[in-house]
């Protein structure tokens, strides 16, 4: 892949994805605190927002949110492991690929569980 051959290779991509997923999660937190605040003040509006969360586009958004959380969390653990055991830095690429294996192994069943009701299953 061209992206993997560009300058910083895996380390640069790990950083870029961490930043993008972090900003995306921050945006969702803003939306989510706003909607839960409405649950107390205006329950009808909140129920309408929940109908969106239960719809197919809403579920696709939740899968993307879950993917951002999972990547950010796994890569965060990777960063911490290397911060506190600097010798692991030698294996930073291997740990990143291990993260992707966990990402797919946990993420695919999770995505299926979220989208399943929209498919009528």
């Amino acid at each position: 892949m061209l992206l993997l051959r560009y300058r910083g290779s895996e380390g640069m991509l790990a950083w870029a994805f961490h930043r993008i997923s972090g900003i995306a999660i921050w945006l969702f937190v803003l939306l989510h605190v706003l909607d839960i605040y409405l649950a107390g003040g205006n329950p009808n509006v909140y129920d309408d927002i929940l109908k969106f969360y239960a719809s197919t586009p809403g579920r696709i958004m939740e899968i993307l949110l879950g993917a951002a959380l999972l990547y950010h969390g796994l890569n965060g653990l990777r960063i911490m492991a290397m911060d506190f055991w600097p010798r692991l830095t030698v294996y930073h690429k291997q740990i990143w690929y291990a993260n992707w294996i966990i990402f797919v192994a946990v993420g695919l069943p999770g995505a299926w569980l979220i989208i399943k009701p929209a498919l009528g299953l």
Partner: protein, 130 residues
């Protein structure tokens, strides 16, 4: 040897607030790994958005001091972690007056979000389970 990592922020050598927030990002990151994934799994795997509503939150989800405290702890951690993270991003791309303005806005939004979440999690009456 300076600690450096291949995708994280290098550990600040200056000490003070920068070093404290560097450590805090890591401590809250571990906490969020547990809190956020438990919260996400609860709303999406144990329950489903189609069975959730304001009534469900008042009568079930938040009808427990434990889960309210759990969600409030998550709110605290996520607000501090997300806003310190956005502070790093902002300072990477903006300088001077724009940076000051963006950071002031960011902190204001952070305080408002924390207040809104705290108000709702504490003000909804608890109807003790029968």
């Amino acid at each position: 040897m300076a600690l450096y990592s291949r995708s994280g922020r290098p550990k600040p050598q200056s000490g003070g607030f920068e070093l404290a927030s560097w450590y805090f990002m890591r401590v809250s990151g571990v906490a969020l790994f547990v809190l956020a994934f438990a919260h996400f799994s609860l709303e999406h795997f144990l329950f489903d958005p189609s069975e959730e509503s304001a009534t469900w939150i008042f009568n079930q989800r938040w009808n427990s001091l434990f889960w309210r405290s759990f969600d409030w702890l998550l709110l605290m951690m996520v607000v501090l972690h997300a806003f310190l993270g956005m502070r790093t991003v902002t300072m990477d791309y903006l300088k001077g007056g724009r940076r000051t303005l963006a950071l002031a806005t960011l902190y204001l939004v952070g305080v408002v979000v924390f207040a809104m979440g705290t108000i709702v999690v504490m003000s909804v009456p608890l109807t003790m389970p029968g």
